[in-house]
């Protein structure tokens, strides 16, 4: 049912608006949020692959009845195949990404409703709005529509940071907003330039214009648009030079909020990188740039993580570093590389969420995120600490977890592409990632408990434990049966090259 394609965006937006209206009625907020949260991962599974034209305005070539009465300058020119309406594309890769995003949104909302004393309709509004925006970014084949949702996602993220009420969260949110005021207009300028040179905002039509020579591929305005699109991508994903603010954003949000924020970053990263690869694959520099910036993100993110004393900031930097693995796969530009990169995106979203929620239990019990002030927490809840250490194994790429499979694929792809150095760096940085994680784990859980550390008596909510177990099981399933994910991603990757 292609009519379900827009529902994936409309449903969370409608739910968000309703939650805002009924934010004082706690029970109603919980019920509505849980019902829509459950629906989010189910809808992409029920939706069939295809295109959705908003307003029903399909290209003329698909509508011979309408085309019959129209003049020749419309039906016998390129206008015959152009897309007159906003178009959403739903294929196997989108299905997997939106399914994973839906599961994560549900788990995060489920956790937040149970962890907070009083369910906040406004906070749930922000999470649903962000989820809807990122879903639209994944689906949209219209670059202006993508820009609009890119802005909505950025504003939702700012709201989620402010809602945390953490120390200096307002300051971080304001900085993120200021940086958005530089990056987002640049992205809009890229859209304007693409519209100017091709007369189109539909991505498929822009690619057609370039491939058929209607637009000169060396047109300076087109090249400028490429650069600006890259700049917007760096901001949306939190790649250097935006890695510092992105890690600050994660550290200032509540742990479950940070779990969702990093998922937004991962899927925005993937969506815009795919658009760049689709439109600008004829520029060799584009793929080189993706590899170089990904390497930079990996090296800076992981080495900076090693130096942090705030565990939320540490995970934030690790999340930025892990983005680099996705970029390496996409930048290689081969079918294997793109499949591995996209698989790594799915894995990273799951694992980093698990780590944020897992370490979030420490914050819940102590209200402290500075690892120098923590210690001896293994005795508090040994089972949860076992799940947390398994999440660290997963992030480092230790079998049988999912990141092992995707990182192995990435190393294979780099060797096949004739760049084994990338494989060596990825292995090296995975070892350092594990070391960074173990440093945090040791200081929080294993070393003697500081005498002045106060731990509250509140039990960890069952919803938090359930979310962690579900995420861990998903990591294990994708590690043992990677073909579940790669079978969705391979056809998509083949179509991209």
């Amino acid at each position: 049912m292609n009519s379900l394609i827009p529902i994936m965006v409309i449903l969370p937006i409608t739910c968000a608006l309703l939650l805002n209206l009924i934010h004082t009625k706690e029970r109603a907020v919980k019920i509505l949020a849980i019902i829509v949260g459950i629906a989010l991962p189910i809808i992409p599974l029920l939706t069939s692959y295809g295109l959705h034209y908003f307003g029903g305005h399909a290209p003329l070539i698909n509508n011979p009845v309408l085309a019959q009465g129209l003049p020749a300058f419309l039906t016998e020119t390129v206008l015959n195949i152009y897309h007159p309406a906003i178009t959403y594309i739903f294929s196997s890769a989108q299905q997997l990404f939106i399914f994973i995003l839906g599961i994560m949104a549900f788990l995060v909302i489920f956790t937040s409703l149970n962890e907070t004393k009083r369910a906040s309709g406004v906070y749930a509004f922000l999470m649903f709005m962000g989820t809807a925006a990122v879903t639209a970014i994944l689906l949209s084949d219209d670059i202006f529509n993508l820009y609009v949702f890119f802005e909505i996602a950025a504003l939702s993220q700012v709201g989620i940071i402010i809602a945390s009420n953490a120390e200096r969260s307002y300051e971080t949110a304001l900085k993120y907003l200021f940086l958005a005021s530089i990056a987002a207009p640049m992205l809009l300028l890229a859209v304007a330039f693409l519209l100017g040179v091709s007369g189109n905002v539909n991505i498929t039509d822009i690619i057609y214009s370039i491939n058929t020579g209607l637009v000169d591929p060396q047109n300076p305005v087109l090249l400028m648009a490429c650069g600006l699109l890259f700049f917007g991508w760096l901001y949306g994903a939190g790649l250097p030079p935006f890695h510092t603010i992105k890690s600050a954003v994660y550290s200032k949000a509540l742990p479950h909020g940070a779990a969702l924020l990093q998922a937004f970053s991962v899927f925005t990263f993937v969506a815009i990188a795919i658009i760049i690869l689709r439109i600008f694959s004829f520029i060799p520099l584009a793929k080189i740039f993706i590899i170089v910036i990904s390497l930079l993100a990996m090296i800076l993110g992981i080495t900076m993580a090693l130096m942090q004393t705030d565990f939320k900031r540490l995970i934030g930097y690790l999340a930025v570093g892990e983005l680099g693995y996705i970029g390496i796969g996409l930048g290689l530009g081969t079918a294997l590389g793109i499949t591995a990169g996209l698989f790594q995106a799915v894995n990273e979203a799951l694992i980093t969420s698990l780590i944020f929620i897992g370490f979030g239990t420490i914050f819940y019990k102590t209200g402290i995120s500075n690892i120098n002030k923590l210690g001896g927490l293994m005795t508090e809840n040994p089972r949860l600490s076992f799940i947390v250490i398994l999440s660290g194994f997963a992030m480092a790429g230790i079998p049988p977890f999912n990141a092992f499979q995707s990182k192995l694929l990435l190393v294979q792809a780099s060797i096949t592409a004739g760049l084994p150095e990338l494989g060596i760096i990825m292995v090296l940085l995975s070892i350092v990632t594990f070391m960074t994680f173990m440093k945090a784990f040791y200081t929080i859980y294993l070393r003697p408990k500081p005498s002045d550390l106060e731990i509250n008596d509140k039990d960890i909510p069952k919803a938090t434990v359930i979310s962690m177990v579900v995420l861990l099981v998903l990591c294990l399933i994708l590690g043992l049966f990677p073909q579940i994910a790669t079978s969705f991603l391979e056809p998509f990757a083949q179509g991209l090259i």
């Binding site: 530089i182 520099l285 080495t303 090693l306 130096m307 004393t309 090296l428």
Partner: protein, 112 residues
């Protein structure tokens, strides 16, 4: 002065001008040392990829980078100082990145 001492001194120096007051522990010093080694080795391995352009160029650049990086050690405390939460620093690097990207794609693609 050993490499370890110079790293510890550098951390102290940076902490004096930083808002955060953290003690220099064995853990933090060894973490910075590990980060330092990771940074240098990653950059050197990445530079080997220049062999795809020219092997002589690759050898010269790898050797030059090796000497420069070792001479500039410790790098990580400086890097941490640059990548702090100062809005001025953030804006500086964002604008610098924008300028570099546009120069690369606008002039680089057409003229290189």
């Amino acid at each position: 002065m050993s490499l370890y001492d110079s790293i510890v001194n550098k951390i102290r120096e940076i902490q004096e001008i930083s808002v955060e007051k953290e003690p220099v522990t064995n853990l933090s010093a060894s973490a910075i040392l590990a980060a330092e080694i990771t940074l240098i080795s990653s950059i050197l391995i990445a530079a080997i990829m220049l062999r795809n352009i020219n092997i002589i160029l690759m050898i010269v650049i790898v050797l030059a980078l090796f000497v420069a990086l070792i001479a500039a050690t410790p790098l990580m405390p400086r890097l941490k100082k640059e990548q702090n939460d100062s809005f001025n620093n953030m804006i500086f690097y964002v604008i610098l990145a924008l300028a570099l990207i546009l120069a690369l794609f606008y002039w680089g693609v057409r003229n290189v």
